[in-house]
Symmetry: C2
Subunit: 479 residues, 2 copies
């Protein structure tokens, strides 16, 4: 057996240093590589295959609601960006500017899109004439760039991949409906495919998207008790339509402004998945999104019949629509186990000479490490069942974690103590004033994550200033 250079080395334990554990997993599970481009990462095959599955599953959900994909330019002329004041102020400090084409200085500089509201508005202004042209429900898959100072794999990088939906509607009601609908699509995707439960709610004025009337968000809780904004959906009302002059002729022959929305989800959710499900052996992928769902690892593969049977099992599983691979390299089985675990493959099939003799194989769950002996005759059905069980139980565990790490606070002392000693969400009442959000951030570093759709009245007073409460808010330290 050849000596293998690429050992599955130890990764930092998450209890010792969660941030280092996270980075170690990104690297050792071969998801990303560093590049010579500051603040930008290379997404390696194992990472990109996850993104491809995310794209596929999200895109299918989008199209089921009537979304159509398009592609707009990556550059925005400065005068176009400048038309909407709030958006400019929100993004100007973090855009990259193109000033030269070849050797020539450009007459007008262009920025690389940090988001494409401006471009869609410009396009819709030309493309929409009549009420018959509405609604427009477009989306694009692309990369965007924001000149961040500090970066972390998937969570914050200068360039990142995402989808951005941009819609235009005749009425404010229809725009609001679409804003909520897409938030629900995100929540459904996160819960059912990534096994990540979320809190759905509205961002405060302070935390909403620059230029939006309001922003809805899905907030998830990482294993370390920090919050991660995992998808947002914005209702622009006719704010952008006014700035960019996007109008249509209505049935009554009058000109009206359209009502717009936008909604986005990024490669960030890969980071969320790592931090919700991972453990000290590496990545743990939910079966619905795992590029490889099952890895077959022969024990004593040189023994007669073992490799043949392994190939037979691979074909059985593939035929049943399971994404399966066989590790028949000359590494030791122990190495192969570690690699499969590091990569987060949900199920391992162990198969040795005894198993072949018995007509059985051993299924080992990545998430719980439970073993299950199954007859090879039934292996396809049993594995398919097991993958669904794993998917469901991963969500159940994440839900239990979310619930057990959500705390209520009524007094400010309680609030501060909870935020400082108990990682997780703290629910508390809020008066609606930005001043209290700023006070809380200064005192605890926690920010308002959202005003959840499901409101509970914990008290009548703002936890910070004591004035009458307007809403219950989820607070937390966030990525």
């Amino acid at each position: 057996m050849a000596k293998d250079k690429k050992l599955v080395e130890q990764i930092t334990s998450m209890e010792d240093d969660f941030a280092q554990w996270y980075t170690d997993v990104c690297i050792k599970a071969d998801l990303i590589g560093y590049t010579s481009v500051k603040g930008c990462m290379a997404i390696k095959p194992a990472g990109y295959a996850i993104w491809e599955n995310i794209q596929h599953n999200l895109d299918e959900r989008f199209k089921a609601t009537g979304v159509k994909n398009v592609y707009m330019p990556m550059l925005i002329p400065e005068n176009l960006l400048n038309k909407e004041a709030e958006l400019v102020n929100g993004f100007a400090p973090e855009v990259a500017w193109v000033t030269h084409g070849g050797a020539e200085k450009l007459q007008e500089r262009l920025c690389i899109r940090p988001t494409s509201e401006t471009l869609f508005c410009d396009f819709y202004a030309k493309d929409i004439q009549s009420y018959k042209d509405l609604p427009k429900v477009y989306n694009q898959w692309c990369s965007v760039l924001r000149w961040e100072k500090t970066t972390r794999p998937f969570l914050r990088s200068r360039e990142f991949l995402w989808q951005e939906g941009h819609t235009a509607h005749a009425t404010a009601e229809e725009a609001e409906e679409r804003t909520v609908q897409m938030l629900n699509v995100y929540a459904d995707f996160l819960e059912n495919d990534l096994a990540i439960p979320v809190v759905k709610g509205q961002k405060t004025e302070k935390e909403k998207f620059a230029g939006a009337k309001h922003t809805y968000t899905v907030e998830a809780l990482m294993h370390d008790g920090k919050a991660l904004q995992s998808g947002t959906s914005h209702n622009f009302d006719d704010i952008f339509a006014q700035a960019y002059d996007v109008q249509y002729t209505d049935k009554d022959n009058t000109l009206k402004h359209v009502h717009q929305t936008s909604w986005g989800m990024t490669t960030r959710v890969i980071g969320a998945m790592i931090m919700v499900h991972g453990d000290n052996s590496g990545l743990v992928l939910p079966p619905h999104i795992a590029p490889t769902q099952v890895m077959i690892i022969p024990i004593r593969q040189d023994a007669e019949g073992v490799l043949d049977k392994a190939v037979e099992i691979k074909e059985k599983l593939a035929t049943a629509g399971i994404r399966v691979d066989l590790d028949d390299t000359d590494k030791r089985p122990g190495w192969k186990f570690s690699e499969q675990e590091m990569r987060g493959i949900p199920v391992r099939v162990e198969l040795g000479p005894k198993d072949v003799e018995n007509g059985s194989a051993v299924l080992v769950r990545r998430d719980t490490r439970e073993k299950l002996v199954v007859s090879i005759d039934e292996i396809a059905e049993k594995t398919a069942e097991l993958l669904e069980t794993i998917q469901k139980e991963m969500l159940d565990r994440a839900k239990a974690h979310l619930e057990s790490h959500t705390y209520d606070a009524v007094t400010y002392d309680e609030f501060k103590e909870t935020v400082n000693t108990k990682p997780g969400f703290v629910r508390a009442m809020w008066c609606g004033d930005k001043a209290c959000e700023e006070q809380i951030k200064a005192d605890t570093t926690a920010t308002s994550r959202c005003m959840p759709f499901q409101q509970i009245r914990l008290s009548d007073k703002c936890v910070c200033c004591g004035k009458p409460a307007k809403a219950m808010v989820y607070w937390g330290k966030a990525y």
Copy 2:
């Protein structure tokens, strides 16, 4: 019946003005829209859906040969670009430079990728250590930017979408094998999915990719007799590996440079498809790539049973895996026919009260306008058959056009007359000197398209200078 604003207006006939016909089709078939970003277009749903099918079918072929998808940054630091002299000289005049991040002037400027050899080399230099890490067969789907002066939809725009494969191999032989393999993938895709026959061959030194050892190409012939380079595959040998220091430790424990390839296909092929198959009624899409393969158009849809039967047919076809849509808007059938024809949908199902009575429907081919009456019981099988027939016959017609527009020339007078009077390819012998290529271009505007793999010895002398011939070359005026 409501008055419909969006008529299918007349487009310029291709005989009158082929260039204007092309632009009209791009606009009227709703493939693209103009933007306020100079030289960049918006790809609208009908255009992007074609690109999605191209991506899907190409990606499947790539993966079958072991290709894995990744994602590299869109920005290239200037010092990284500068490492390979030929590449810099080739691309420097046409890259866009980022000089500012937010309000800050950058210490080093970065260009937006015109192509990503530099980034993959930088990545491979870090990622490849041993012969065990080879081969690397990576690809990415992304957009690139080249600061072109004059632009045309799909054919030449500052930003365009493409895939770029970048591979690293232990040996020169393996790199050469991959270069040819990917060219064959392109040819197979173009012929079988886009119904575009191609000439496969090698580019001359003058026309090869900057920095490559040699470039292979697939050249297609448009309806107007102009050539279009439709995909290229480059063998870099170890030229880039030397410049970027991409080395591996071989089995014999010595350090060696890797051998690299790259290959790309772009949204240009959508332009090729339009110009090979389109007619004066608009787009004609090959069934394999058409987002909608069949449009059902009811005649007198208000008559009893017609719409119900149309829905039933839609379900039958969809169940058989056919991409089908039903136009049940309140436009007149004539309008609907024109729209379906403009959009290039391969088959139309016409269904009126009489058809319902007879249990039949009429299939109308977009390409030949032939009609076929079929029993509704058999409509799924008959339509599937017809789609394959159309696909095959579209390729046959394009092949016949290519053959009938390929001419041979032995003397220079013959050559010039043919190039100037007969749109198409001219095959002629060449001495191998760049001077003759330049002379021919100056005299005729034709360029060398490729030295085909299938060589025929038309004479012993260069058509231009009369010196001994080294190769037979396809010449043509090109997009």
